[in-house]
């Protein structure tokens, strides 16, 4: 550790001691000041003990919002179970006086085969840190089968959004050695998938299954790794098979990987197992909680979408403007190789759908040079959705990127080697997540890999193309400035759309859009896959999606609608559109198709509802724009009606729509 760190440590420990003394004397305000001084003297991450002291002091002073903030800051300080437990208790108490800003409230049933009492507490803290408020139902110890198989159980009455199946390896009915491993694994697999099916049949909850941790003790030794009948290998096979069966309908928390990350020796502590049936050691619970929270957050569509990268000392070593193309560290030597490895890791994130952008203080021509000329550069300019190089402040540039790509600041993650820039971003655009890069570039990849909010719930081929689509979107913006009228602009795009009813193949993308679209989303109803499958069976349900392409790119599946035929009308249950294609007249094409369907069904009117949220303001006027009349206003919620006889159909002259064969077939 460097001397600077040691100095700051002595500095903050003396401030803490001063604070403690004052706090004990009941002088809370001066104590708080001392603790704040300690926090400022600490590195960027304030130690958990100081976070808790700050939280308590603020609570005593009645500043509940600040107290809550510091209780949650324990999560960022590290995986210290005891501190988490205290922080969680504090946070629970504080929400009685302080209404925190939450992105989502969800009900979670924790259904396990081992003691989960402590886990419940730390999970609540981990999700709260992500802006997810949990209501938890913890099933009685070891009762997971009864809770799932008894359709009148308290778990079903609770009606959870998520069910965490927290089970451990000891539950597996597998012998140390089996002469027929395939059969045994099949039987075991069925036991678990049957539970999933039961849950799906009797609730709308999404299952989060913990997979099985192979234990440290290995009676078969290394032979076990080449003997398909060994319990060790059967457990591994079972984990793979569970993953295959889970597909898009069940989430998995890969405990096998987490236990290896944490250290299997410590993951399972036989003393606490025999004492209290803790199949996961208390010390490992914060890690497990953070990962579980990340999986739930991804399922809720709250994952981050875009990574904003600095250049100098982030993508290469040195400063391009000073060291020049030949002088920067990239390719050769320890750091040079590390920067290559880091760039390759970034490209892997791009591959799974994370949008890469650059934000750097540089001369643009200098900044471009390595991308265009350096032989060891892995990231190319066309891997980037946006290249923002200027001398403006980073917070301003982040806002610009947010606007240009039409994604929220709370979808962005900032990566910069400079602690000063990181501090500026934390202060001025707190919605943006900031990753604290360590000073040593060989640690960059690992640090980034420990950031959990790039977790995604689905993978569709469209994800791999996302940066390109956003890039093309930015190009379209450039084109826009060259055309004289908006009509010319639309015509210039040569847009074509394909409209199709929902089908199994597109269901993952449909569910993904429903799960995460916030802005152009009229009702923000988060229907899950089982519900959607129900709609597809329902003859009164009109459902369709739209794929859009233009002369620049194929945007893929970008809008969808679900409506129900009731009486003389069609009622729109869900209508949403990806923000990639906002202001492209896609809305008109969606309504054009809906009008067509309404006529076939002899409907007299179409009715739509707008339910406002904090994010969907942009969709507020869509019904009015297309000539719907406001017929009902229930508080914030407005209901709109379009009279088909009186007004005729809606047409869009800018998008050439093709009704796909499948749809035509269905219509006839």
């Amino acid at each position: 550790m460097s001397t600077v760190a040691v100095d700051s440590r002595t500095l903050h420990s003396s401030a803490v001691a001063r604070g403690d003394k004052l706090y004990q004397l009941g002088q809370i305000e001066p104590a708080l000041e001392a603790y704040l001084a300690a926090a400022a003297a600490a590195s960027e991450l304030v130690p958990a003990s100081i976070c808790l002291k700050l939280a308590r002091s603020y609570e005593r002073l009645g500043s509940y919002a600040e107290a809550y903030h510091w209780a949650l800051a324990v999560v960022d300080a590290g995986d210290d179970f005891s501190a988490w437990q205290t922080g969680s208790g504090l946070a629970q108490r504080l929400i009685m006086n302080h209404q925190p800003v939450v992105h989502r409230s969800v009900k979670v049933a924790l259904v396990g085969s081992y003691t989960t009492t402590q886990f419940t507490q730390v999970l609540q803290l981990a999700t709260a840190r992500l802006g997810i408020a949990l209501e938890i139902y913890e099933s009685p110890y070891g009762q997971y089968r009864q809770e799932i198989l008894d359709h009148n159980s308290r778990m079903y009455t609770f009606a959870p959004d998520f069910l965490i199946l927290a089970v451990h390896e000891g539950e597996l009915v597998l012998p140390t050695y089996s002469a027929s491993p395939q059969e045994d694994v099949d039987t075991e697999l069925q036991r678990w998938t049957m539970l999933w099916e039961q849950i799906a049949a009797h609730s709308k909850t999404r299952v989060v299954q913990y997979n099985f941790v192979t234990p440290c003790e290995s009676p078969m030794g290394h032979l076990g790794a080449r003997l398909p009948g060994s319990r060790y290998m059967m457990t591994q096979t079972l984990n793979s098979r569970l993953g295959e069966h889970a597909g898009n309908t069940v989430s998995i928390v890969d405990c096998e990987r987490l236990s290896a990350l944490y250290g299997k020796q410590r993951w399972f502590d036989p003393r606490y197992w025999h004492l209290a049936k803790q199949a996961v050691a208390l010390g490992a619970l914060p890690l497990l909680a953070r990962h579980t929270a990340a999986v739930i957050s991804a399922d809720l569509g709250l994952s981050r979408k875009c990574l904003v990268l600095d250049l100098d000392n982030t993508l290469w070593g040195g400063v391009i403007g000073e060291d020049g193309l030949a002088g920067i560290k990239l390719g050769q030597g320890i750091e040079g190789e590390a920067f290559i490895a880091f760039q390759e890791y970034l490209l892997k994130l791009k591959q799974k759908g994370i949008i890469l952008t650059v934000c750097s203080k540089n001369n643009e021509s200098d900044a471009r040079e390595p991308f265009e000329k350096h032989p060891d550069m892995r990231i190319r300019l066309d891997d980037l959705a946006l290249f923002v190089v200027n001398w403006e402040s980073k917070p301003d540039n982040l806002r610009l990127i947010s606007k240009a790509l039409n994604i929220g600041l709370d979808s962005m993650v900032f990566l910069d080697d400079s602690p000063v820039e990181r501090a500026a971003v934390r202060q001025f655009v707190p919605e943006v997540d900031v990753i604290q890069l360590p000073p040593d570039p060989t640690q960059y990849t690992r640090t980034l890999s420990q950031y959990l909010l790039f977790e995604t719930s689905w993978f569709t081929p469209e994800d791999a193309l996302r940066t390109q689509q956003y890039r093309e979107r930015a190009q379209v913006m450039e084109l826009e400035t060259g055309t004289t009228s908006i009509e010319d602009f639309y015509r210039n795009l040569q847009m074509q759309a394909v409209v199709e009813p929902f089908n199994e193949f597109h269901l993952p993308r449909i569910a993904q859009l429903i799960g995460k679209t916030n802005q152009f989303n009229l009702t923000t109803r988060r229907h899950g896959v089982p519900v959607l499958q129900g709609f597809m069976q329902d003859s009164n349900c009109v459902h369709f999606f739209l794929r859009l392409c233009d002369r620049f790119s194929d945007h893929g599946l970008v809008s969808l609608m679900i409506a129900f035929h009731r009486g003389d009308g069609l009622e729109i249950d869900t209508w949403l559109m990806s923000c990639r294609v906002i202001s492209r007249t896609v809305e008109a094409t969606m309504l054009e198709y809906l009008c067509g369907r309404a006529r076939q069904l002899d409907c007299k009117f179409i009715r739509g509802t707008y339910i406002p949220t904090t994010k969907n303001l942009m969709a507020k006027d869509v019904f009015r724009t297309f000539g719907f009349d406001l017929v009902q206003q229930n508080g914030e919620v407005s209901v709109w009606q379009y009279d088909l006889h009186q007004k005729g159909g809606i047409m869009n002259q800018f998008i050439k729509a093709v009704i796909s064969n499948k749809a035509c077939h269905e219509r006839t």
Partner: protein, 79 residues
């Protein structure tokens, strides 16, 4: 801080009572909220604070606070 004071600190955290005072004769009966769950939290925190590892038996059983302190001192924790 003495072992006694440090231990007191741990108890105050676990039982969320900043006025809690320990004496050697105290047992689980004397502290409200000391149930099996609190016991696990307590033992984990003591192991962490004093950087010791109890045996299975020590984790589960001790006569009173005095005996718990004896365990700690036996493990090399200094007064």
């Amino acid at each position: 801080m003495s072992v006694h004071e440090q231990l007191e600190e741990v108890f105050r955290e676990v039982f969320n009572d900043c006025n809690l005072l320990l004496s050697d004769e105290m047992t689980a009966e004397d502290i409200s909220g000391w149930d099996s769950v609190a016991h696990i939290n307590l033992m984990f925190r003591i192991e962490q604070t004093f950087r010791v590892e109890f045996s299975g038996n020590e984790l589960a059983e001790f006569k009173n606070i005095g005996e718990l302190k004896k365990y700690l001192i036996r493990k090399g924790v200094h007064e």
